[in-house]
């Protein structure tokens, strides 16, 4: 990893980590023990042959190395940047016990960036088949499923409601963490496999359900786009955003460049971000880059934050103030936000998620002045389309009920990614999408 200095990078949206050069990649690869039973592969949700591609890097054969990754993962430039490697591949690396684990994420990213500069090779496609498949949503799950099915010869159309494909990779994750040029390159690769992407198409509306059901198979990859609000007093005031809205305005519609771009956003002098996940970090760091003084309020302890370690670390480096064990009780103002009242929290016994549950300490309330408040407390699946398809079963949190292959309760409809799991990571969505694509493939070829 080679991070640009924090005091420099908070003034722009360029990538924080500028990647590693070839010599460094080869040296890092040489540290790999090439375990006979590689635990790292078990830790990878898409099962990449990690020792295999690392050996090729060591030999300087980058072309073969990226080929190995792409057998399992069509979006390596994205995953190398946004996977929580510390709890996946790198978390399992045996070297990590005494020393630092192999920087698998950095190596993956290095190869993907190398390939983008040196010409992308498109994998061989299976013979063209007549079956048509509809994929709803063009985020990581949709792109992965579409790529897998296209490689198997199917005719695949992705429907995207936004004007640009990429889902959360486009509207959610900021440029400084995942450059849009990288996302666009990986999307073009999916298109080169023959996948058609129709933007501005809201399935259920622009494409009625009857027409959707005329496809031979359907993969729902609509993500978890419905933002949760805390439900505390004052949150409908001017200056209060869901992280989804704040990030969409900046990442997708370039509100940071207002008025050159027409979409406005309240940049804020004092911004309070509520939450402790990656989305909260993204929102806080975007606000910081637009010139605000930013405080992040999280109800549990620093070590309980669900964000990737490196994101929380980067956020702190960039001067985001963390107020842990603190929870908002109301948002103040008379129509326009002036502050947030918070209460200190006491950590109690562990809850279902293994994290301590937090209880407010009576009388510990105090006020943080703020002119913008961003709530990043989670998202659930958007129920719009799900409600229109008869027979789909939703679970408690609105997630679609699926079996281990991603099959829903309606014949020939599969689901993958956050719509089935609830808000999770890019790589878990991709893993589930591969599984669902394989199941669709079997269903259509074994009939």
């Amino acid at each position: 990893m080679s991070d640009r200095p924090a005091d420099l990078r908070v003034h722009d949206f360029e990538e924080v980590d500028s990647g590693i050069p070839a010599e460094e990649a080869i040296a890092e690869a040489a540290r790999c023990l090439q375990c006979k039973k590689p635990a790292c592969v078990d830790g990878c949700p898409v099962g990449i042959d990690i020792p295999g591609f690392i050996r090729c890097i060591e030999d300087g054969d980058f072309r073969s190395a990226i080929g190995i990754i792409k057998e399992s993962n069509m979006l390596p430039a994205v995953c190398g940047r946004v996977c929580p490697q510390e709890v996946q591949c790198e978390g399992e690396c045996i070297l990590g016990v005494k020393d630092k684990p192999i920087a698998i994420g950095s190596l993956e990213r290095f190869l993907a960036d190398w390939e983008r500069e040196n010409g992308i090779e498109i994998p061989e496609l299976a013979e063209k088949r007549s079956e048509r498949i509809a994929v709803v949503g063009s985020g990581p799950a949709g792109l992965t499923a579409a790529a897998e099915l296209a490689r198997n010869g199917f005719s695949v159309t992705i429907f995207e409601a936004f004007h640009e494909p990429g889902g959360v990779l486009t509207y959610g994750i900021p440029e400084f963490r995942l450059p849009k040029e990288v996302v666009q390159a990986e999307i073009s690769e999916v298109k080169r496999l023959g996948v058609e992407i129709r933007t501005n198409y809201l399935v259920g509306r622009s494409l009625p359900v009857e027409e959707l059901l005329s496809y031979d198979a359907i993969i729902l990859a609509t993500g978890a786009g419905l933002p949760a609000f805390m439900g505390i007093p004052g949150e409908n005031q001017i200056g209060v955003y869901s992280a989804n809205e704040f990030l969409t305005r900046v990442n997708l519609l370039h509100a940071d460049a207002f008025p050159h771009h027409d979409t406005p956003v309240k940049k804020g002098r004092s911004v309070v971000v509520i939450g402790g996940g990656n989305v909260a970090m993204d929102a806080a760091r975007v606000a910081k880059r637009m010139g605000a003084d930013v405080t992040l309020v999280y109800r549990r302890r620093r070590e309980d934050m669900p964000a990737r370690l490196v994101e929380a670390h980067h956020a702190e480096e960039e001067g985001i103030r963390f107020l842990c064990c603190t929870n908002p009780t109301r948002i103040l103002g008379e129509g326009t936000v002036t502050g947030v009242e918070v209460v200190s929290m006491d950590m109690c016994e562990l809850d279902d998620s293994g994290r301590p549950s937090a209880k407010p300490i009576p009388g510990s309330e105090y006020i943080i002045p703020a002119d913008v408040v961003i709530e990043a407390i989670g998202q659930s699946p958007n129920p719009l389309l799900i409600r229109m398809i008869e027979g789909l079963v939703r679970e408690k949190k609105g997630n679609l009920l699926v079996d281990e292959s991603g099959k829903t309760t309606v014949p020939k409809i599969y689901a993958a990614g956050d719509v089935a799991t609830g808000a999770a990571t890019v790589i878990l969505a991709m893993g589930a999408a591969k599984t669902a694509a394989d199941a669709v493939c079997r269903m259509l070829t074994e009939e």
Partner: protein, 278 residues
């Protein structure tokens, strides 16, 4: 890219455009809207679908900000980069009996498509359309052709009955109470006018027009409070029970970007946007 096939001015600052967007037009129902983005640097704005003809959809808009001003400058043959729709829940069309449709200003644009649908469902449709003055009144002929009865009001009395649309609506409620009422126009007009039907207990709908981004339920920009509950106008609405809507909150949230709108206007027109008050 979506091509404009016809564009014209209907009144001062009010424009009409027909856009070729089959994926929207073929599935649009009364009461729904679309979201458009004119060009690469454009913002996404919602506009009611005010008519459909084959592959074409009609929008009618008033120039209030940067996007509507840009839109007004487009001519036949020009293109719009993005159009998504139809969005929102359609009007609850069924056989009510007698329906009154009240439109104020550019809000009249929403009415013909709803009037047609209600008429087809077997209702008697009375239209009340109001404007500040005669020159600002739009769609009179079209409303005349789809309504069983049409009442016109102008604030200054330059045409039709002098006063607000609330006047004749109240009279109708008193003399021959209708079974359902729609009130569509500026938020303040909807608040005041729909208040008229409340004492009579007549089911009344309003179509809310908060600020939106995606229009598909993923940002929460358009949140409104109806019956004490926060709802998203883009997917739960845009039509809601008028007597449950918190209009003051709607009006407050519509002013979210007042300062930015001035800044944007100044940027696009070259001036500072202050009207010479520096």
């Amino acid at each position: 890219m979506y091509t404009i096939t016809a564009a014209s001015a209907l009144a001062e600052n009010v424009y009409e455009a027909w856009i070729s967007a089959p994926h929207v037009s073929r599935h649009a129902e009364a009461g729904q809207f679309l979201v458009l983005r004119i060009d690469e640097t454009g913002e996404r704005i919602p506009l009611t679908i005010s008519g459909v003809d084959g592959d074409l959809v009609r929008i009618i808009f008033m120039t209030v900000g940067t996007t509507t001003r840009k839109l007004a400058a487009l001519k036949k043959g020009d293109t719009i980069l993005d159009v998504v729709g139809p969005l929102g829940q359609p009007t609850e069309v069924k056989r009510y009996g007698t329906c009154v449709l009240v439109g104020g200003g550019v809000g009249i644009a929403c009415l013909p498509i709803i009037a047609k649908a209600l008429k087809t469902a077997g209702n008697t449709v009375i239209g009340i359309i109001g404007a500040r003055n005669k020159d600002l009144l739009i769609l009179e002929d079209e409303m005349q052709s789809v309504c069983d009865e049409l009442i016109i009001t102008t604030d200054d009395g330059s045409y039709g009955i002098k006063g607000f649309a609330a006047g004749p609506l109240k009279e109708i409620c008193e003399t021959r109470p209708p079974d359902a009422v729609w009130v569509i126009g500026p938020a303040i007009m909807m608040k005041v006018t729909s208040g008229v039907t409340k004492p009579f207990g007549i089911r009344t709908f309003v179509s809310l027009n908060p600020i939106m981004v995606d229009g598909t339920g993923m940002c929460g920009s358009c949140r409104v409070v109806v019956g004490g509950e926060t709802r998203f106008a883009c997917v739960d609405g845009p039509e809601f029970d008028a007597h449950e809507v918190n209009f003051d909150l709607l009006m407050s949230r519509q002013r979210f970007y007042t300062d930015e709108e001035k800044e944007s206007a100044a940027h696009h027109t070259g001036g500072c946007g202050c009207g010479g008050h520096h």
